[in-house]
Subunit: 278 residues, 4 copies
């Protein structure tokens, strides 16, 4: 018996739930969980089901294709560990949180490698027997540097997600297109507030009473990709910007770990620069 995650999106029309559930029923599949959402503004239907049963993946997919409209995108996924590569710069908190979760076995992922533009975190990563690759940007044009990273990434097959765990350099469209919808980032602010450099300093200057962090997919516009998770921490006048930065790290690692977990469990649809999350 197999367990599948079935993710369907389609232009909305009457009968979609009926059609899908009939396929499940006729194939003797048991529904363990089922979530649906219709985006009325865009007449778009989203459905995620987890089903158990005695059927081949391809047959299930074909059965769904046969009854669903042409607009439908259908994913039938056999849950297994996904392959991820982490990219970092110098800060340890988000990386460390993922390494510990990985070590404890709670992450449905294989960490293929950690890539950084500095060697600072190598000693931490190597403790966990995970390859660490330093690709320094010293003396390189942005595109030259990225080409070296892309080359490095090309050594790893079947990368499901690239996780920017405080990688502090801007990616070019070329890089992003190469891993479209596969790059997860944390921005260290409550987006869309404080886009750009040193958001904690901006937040401090503005005198905010709450700081935040946002995990999101990366698209062509810096800090403007589809948001996955946001979390906040209350602050007050006694916080300088470095205090905000320190406190903010707890929010940062939280939103990144939650986003990664959602992605690994195939719970996220990306649509219209937003996410639908079940």
């Amino acid at each position: 018996m197999n367990r599948y995650r079935v993710l369907i999106d389609a232009n909305d029309e009457k009968g979609l739930v009926h059609k899908v559930s009939t396929v499940f029923y006729n194939n003797g599949l048991n529904i363990l969980s089922n979530s649906e959402f219709v985006d009325k503004e865009n007449d778009k239907f989203f459905m995620r089901s987890v089903v158990d049963g005695d059927i081949e993946l391809d047959i299930l997919k074909k059965s769904l294709l046969d009854v669903l409209p042409k607009s439908a995108t259908i994913q039938v996924i056999l849950p297994k560990k996904k392959n991820i590569v982490l990219m970092v710069t110098k800060e340890m908190h988000a990386l460390g949180d993922i390494l510990i979760r990985h070590e404890s076995g709670e992450l449905e992922a294989n960490i293929l490698a950690v890539i950084s533009n500095y060697d600072k975190l190598e000693s931490l990563v190597s403790k966990f027997n995970i390859p660490y690759v330093t690709v320094s940007h010293e003396g390189l044009e942005r595109t030259e540097h990225e080409d070296k990273i892309l080359e490095c990434l090309s050594n790893y097959k079947d990368i499901d997600y690239i996780v920017l765990a405080k990688y502090m350099r801007i990616l070019t469209p070329k890089f992003i297109e190469a891993y479209n919808d596969k790059i997860i980032n944390i921005h260290h602010s409550f987006l869309p507030a404080f886009i750009g450099a040193n958001p904690y300093k901006q937040a401090y200057e503005r005198g905010v009473k709450i700081i935040g962090a946002t995990s999101h997919f990366v698209n062509n516009n810096l800090d403007e990709g589809p948001i996955i998770e946001q979390e906040i921490i209350h602050v007050n006048h006694s916080y300088g910007w470095r205090d905000m930065q320190k406190s903010g790290r707890d929010a940062e690692k939280m939103v990144l770990s939650r986003a990664l977990k959602l992605a690994l469990e195939d719970r996220i649809f990306v649509y219209a620069n937003k996410t639908v999350i079940f």
Copy 2:
């Protein structure tokens, strides 16, 4: 064309979603939203759908009865204002919040009356042209007092919910049975901590760093009914118990208003002394 809320619970078995969605499809109904949950521990299935279409309520209900197992409970509800009675003692915040929401039109409810064991809040309630009935408990046994309230309630037909908006007296089983699953209460603590009298004083004595409030249905055991909503507020050593009480009022009115809204929108299933909320 009508809009219905359909609430179904049943012992879990294969094909329930298929059966329900087939009924919807065959009757030309459009699903606006759909939520399902299976309580695996108890093998219990819950489903709430909102559907639009050209069908009589009774026919829809019968169509569902025809295909669903005997264990199923089926509610087909035409959304309309529900009838509620509020019960209060002396505190104004939770009552006031409901009165303002009612006045603004955001509440899907008619407030039939406010009943209190004191006349203190009459001047507020009468501003809103809502009947206020004082049923003093002075000199009465608990059951005598309740009988008078029950008599008073018997003047109002089709009460959907009785909302205890800081009604500070314990209800007897007789009263509760008369309005089974229809009485919503706020307890001024994060249940099950600080059951019983003066929870803020208990919380202060214990030196907690968070205070809370809980809205719940009332059953035979005081403060032990199915929980609907909980909210908390951070406090610190500078809060005396009266400060906690004052801050706690904001949490109290929030959880009560949210619970009432969920009840009025038919979003709550009660099962095994818990709630399933869609």
Copy 3:
């Protein structure tokens, strides 16, 4: 015996706490609470004390003036109800929350009047025997309209705060200067995100997972005044912008009521477009 709130800010220098506490001690005053903060970036000292004792307000103020440096601003305040005027447009939730808190006696304030550019909320306000003045903006230039409001305000002596409880028109610099540091506003977003019109629609378009509200003093730049309080509410993909708006109202009324309470208790210093709050 009197109770005073003493608020001091000054350029920071060694010995300020010593000097102030010596004045208190020599005058036989008992310190009930005491808070200090030094803004190291600007070398600015802030102190708020509550003291009890047998001394005249003017003598206490003079004693402090005698020992403190010239840069010091000293306020000695006898706690009493402050005079406030509310300004609203059409929405009831923030106004209603203040009216109920006022009615319950928890607000240290007299509400002198409610001014609106519509008559929609008159029926609510008049229930509470508070004057309601409609100053329509129909057919008027912005400055003409504001002049009429200023004229209306001039009828009320000793206004301590003007509270914009969802007043949906932009104020001109002239108006703001007339009530400098006395105007408290709610912005219906987590500032500085979504400045300007219809922030909930902006938030929806951006696909945020958290919405917020901000209370702040009003200065010349719209939505850029010193922030007093911020609060957030978690949302998800199922929220349309009107759902965000509805949920956001709870955050809006919360941040406004908390800001008003802080102002009425003389707990806020405004400095460098920020607030220091004790």
Copy 4:
């Protein structure tokens, strides 16, 4: 020039701030921060100051002793890394969070050792070159087992804090007295709810909508010591108790790390089974 943390508690009386600040002033000390609190119920005064200046620790302490009443407890502390020992059982999340914070240098602490009743976490701890001591409880009476741990602890000089990072065995009064006010624990619930074994299962059975975690000092009564920090996570009907447990781990590690940070920075007073935290 030295920097000191000065912590004073005393029976409240007029002039305490004056006396302390006069000592600081007369000795040319600069106050960097200052916090006071008076517990009116118990007439108890608490003050924590951070001061800079050119004075010996003993002289500062003596100067304060000379002016303060006999009831005063005075601590003058030169900030430096404190010595801590961690105790764990099998779960990795809280331990891992502390190890990463330690590795990143953000913790003002030396981790002398990790002691466990199982060897399960040895491979993690040894990556960080920190001694790991397994003291199995197999076949031992509780007191025998504890004596072995006490013996093991006696190898480490000047232990400031013992941190129970999910150490799942109950400590006896003998052990607790040996390290009075030095043992910090996490309880995996929002105390005082769900005292005792498997609180997540209790929480699930009760149908709560919020789960929590509490960090506290350990005293003789299990789970009843002075609370340091509490945090919560919202849950819903779809969470089984193991889901609650998984989500709860994030709250657990957060409250423990925050409590540890507060302790290392000498910000906590313990009094009347509560904490005053500056």
